[in-house]
């Protein structure tokens, strides 16, 4: 990548003997919206704190706009940060919160005023400037927290699970606003979350992390359609992917009585003969339709969810979920004919769990 906005090279972080981040490399482009996604404890927040300079790294380097900032103070790195708990200074007004850092940097009064006005206009918090954080709603507080990053007039924004403390509806609204904000400002944004919907909707690229390592770094589409390993395949998508364990032989996936023709599957390399996992997403199942592969199943459980219906059945003794239309008339005990296109499936090696 040319002129990356943020570049992380061979980053290690240890707490005592526990390695949180292991030889991590990551380049983030100018104006890119990158989401760090993973379960709790995967090191995503730790990585963000390292970029911010709030944690000292054990080894490796961090560059922001081609400047080596590995040893710089957080305030000198050209970043703004938004925290999960908002971290607003409770005794100061919104204006006080926005200006405290600038005043401290001895910025001329006039410029401070201009920046605050601009940030307040962008975030539509002008009427709130003289209130204290305690008098604001969760969404308003979050906006002020973003404003505090905005007035710093920096190139890189860091978000540490900024929407986690909000209720579901507000979260959806602010998600859209964040996206609009990024469209407007075109800053580099690095965003940590454990919510895959946020990741899928916001990101230009997603980095999925596990145990201090990046499992996959790709566009949301690519991660959804072509997960590089079984962990990523299982982690992305809700409800998660159906898996069968079996053998690949002669272009066929065989698991017990089940046999799936893999002619349409796009193998990374030559079709191997190996034990493997076969994965197919519940939403890629078709009912009563022509499909390259089809099977007869009996319905065990029906979970109507309004917009769609989740049906539980068994194939070959393995629990199997699929999604139907919300209006579908199915009930327990019904016999259905289902099918899917193996081209939409994912195959993973049984031992390495890597995509085949």
């Amino acid at each position: 990548m040319k002129n990356p906005s943020v570049s992380i090279k061979h980053l290690d972080l240890e707490f005592g003997s526990f390695k949180v981040l292991k030889d991590l490399n990551l380049d983030i482009g100018q104006g890119e919206f990158l989401v760090l996604l993973g379960a709790s404890g995967c090191g995503k927040s730790t990585l963000l704190n390292c970029i911010a300079g709030l944690l000292d790294v054990s080894d490796g380097q961090i560059f922001i706009n081609d400047k080596n900032v590995t040893w710089e103070q957080p305030s000198e790195r050209g970043i703004g940060m938004v925290f999960q708990s908002y971290a607003l200074y409770p005794q100061m007004t919104v204006r006080g919160n926005l200006t405290f850092g600038l005043k401290n940097a001895k910025m001329p009064k006039k410029e401070i005023e201009e920046r605050v006005t601009r940030a307040a206009e962008i975030l539509q918090i002008e009427p709130l400037l003289n209130r204290k954080p305690a008098a604001l709603s969760g969404g308003q507080r979050q906006r002020v927290a973003i404003g505090r990053a905005l007035v710093r007039d920096v190139d890189v924004f860091l978000f540490d699970e900024p929407l986690s403390n909000l209720d579901a509806k507000l979260r959806a609204d602010l998600r859209v606003e964040l996206k609009l904000l990024h469209e407007r400002l075109k800053n580099t944004m690095i965003y940590v979350t454990h919510d895959q919907i946020e990741a899928m909707t916001l990101a230009d690229r997603i980095a999925i992390m596990k145990d201090g390592l990046i499992q996959q770094l790709d566009s949301p589409q690519e991660i959804y359609n072509r997960p590089v390993n079984k962990y990523v395949a299982d982690f992305i998508g809700s409800p998660s992917m159906n898996f069968f364990e079996g053998e690949i032989a002669n272009g066929q996936f065989v698991s017990g009585d089940l046999s799936i023709d893999l002619t349409r599957y796009d193998f990374a390399e030559e079709s191997p003969n190996a034990t493997a996992w076969f994965g197919i997403r519940p939403e890629h199942i078709l009912v009563n339709d022509e499909a390259p592969f089809s099977a007869k199943v009996r319905v065990d459980i029906v979970e109507p969810m309004g917009s769609d219906t989740l049906v539980w059945t068994k194939i070959n003794g393995t629990p199997f979920r699929f999604r139907m239309d919300g209006q579908a008339a199915v009930s327990v005990g019904d016999d259905l004919s289902i099918g899917f296109d193996p081209a939409r499936a994912s195959l993973f090696d049984n031992t390495t769990e890597l995509r085949l």
Partner: protein, 306 residues
């Protein structure tokens, strides 16, 4: 770049700062910080040191030196004398009498006050009944009333009960004045136990005492330890109640210590005095150093007691 492994290839090791920012141990800030802490620590430890060294010196050596000079000839005689021979105004059998009095006061006081307060806190937390909160509020406010306001009427009450100057009377006094803080401690703790557990036990047919003994008690050992620490140090260190509600042969250790050291008769034996002081402080000090974090938890809760 397709995936993470691909990024590895185009990373070239670059010059410039890398890894942990080198920090020197001897920055001006660290020197200031640790230096100040060290000096203050010495100041806090000094009295303990003075007590120890003085109690190990003979009187001639004390007259020649100062309070900080370490003993040249270590002698344990002051300790023996403080324990078994030192004189108050009335008798000359040392602190041992006070020690055993304190034990006889402390053990039942701790046991009874904690038993009553724990049941009480449990009743307040889980069996709210009409008026309970009024009494509890009075109790908490009572913790702020200076003891001096209440001591004389209590003398009258104890006299009427025939317990004035008796150890059992002092046990009642300690139970009464320990009640606000202990009740608060237990009430808060029992309130923090999920109510579902209590409801489940009631559905299963357990009654007031059944739930207390079979469910609450086994779950609350730590808070009992905190309460015991709080009460042992508090009652052991009490002076006011001891001097008011007992007579000289029943005086607790603190009162006797004060009488020994501040008695005007005879020559001042500073080494014996310091040995006696150290002996009296030993019980709470041992409790303190053994209990560690639990002590901190106890005082944070007991701070209200003032």
């Amino acid at each position: 770049m397709a995936d993470a492994s691909a990024t590895n290839s185009d990373v070239t090791t670059m010059s410039g700062p890398r890894g942990r920012k080198p920090t020197r141990m001897l920055t001006p800030r660290n020197i200031m910080l640790y230096g100040t802490l060290f000096v203050i620590a010495v100041y806090y430890l000094l009295p303990l040191y003075v007590m120890v060294v003085t109690s190990l010196k003979g009187m001639p050596e004390i007259r020649l030196g100062n309070v900080f000079s370490p003993p040249v000839e270590i002698t344990f005689e002051p300790w023996v004398k403080a324990w078994s021979e030192a004189c108050t105004g009335l008798n000359c059998d040392g602190l041992s009498r006070g020690f055993w009095n304190s034990v006889r006061i402390m053990v039942p006081s701790v046991a009874i006050s904690i038993l009553i307060a724990s049941v009480n806190g449990y009743a307040l937390a889980n069996w709210r009944f009409k008026g309970a909160n009024i009494f509890f509020t009075i109790l908490i406010f009572g913790a702020f009333i200076p003891y001096q306001v209440m001591i004389y009427p209590i003398v009258i009450i104890l006299r009427e009960m025939g317990l004035y100057t008796k150890l059992s009377g002092l046990v009642i006094v300690h139970t009464v004045f320990g009640m606000p803080i202990l009740t608060l401690l237990f009430r808060n703790y029992f309130s923090s136990i999920p109510e579902e557990l209590f409801k489940a036990a009631r559905v299963d047919g357990a009654g007031f005492w059944g739930i207390y003994f079979q469910i609450m008690l086994p779950m609350s050992l730590p808070i009992f330890v905190v309460a015991i620490i709080l009460q042992v140090t508090g009652i052991w260190n009490d002076f006011l109640f001891g001097v008011i509600y007992t007579k000289p042969e029943n005086y607790p250790m603190t009162v006797q210590l004060n009488n020994i050291v501040n008695s005007v008769q005879g020559v001042k034996e500073y080494n014996v005095n310091m040995a006696a002081t150290l002996l009296t402080g030993l019980v709470p000090l041992i409790v303190y150093f053994v209990s560690g974090k639990l002590f901190v938890r106890g005082i944070a809760a007991g701070a209200v007691k003032g």
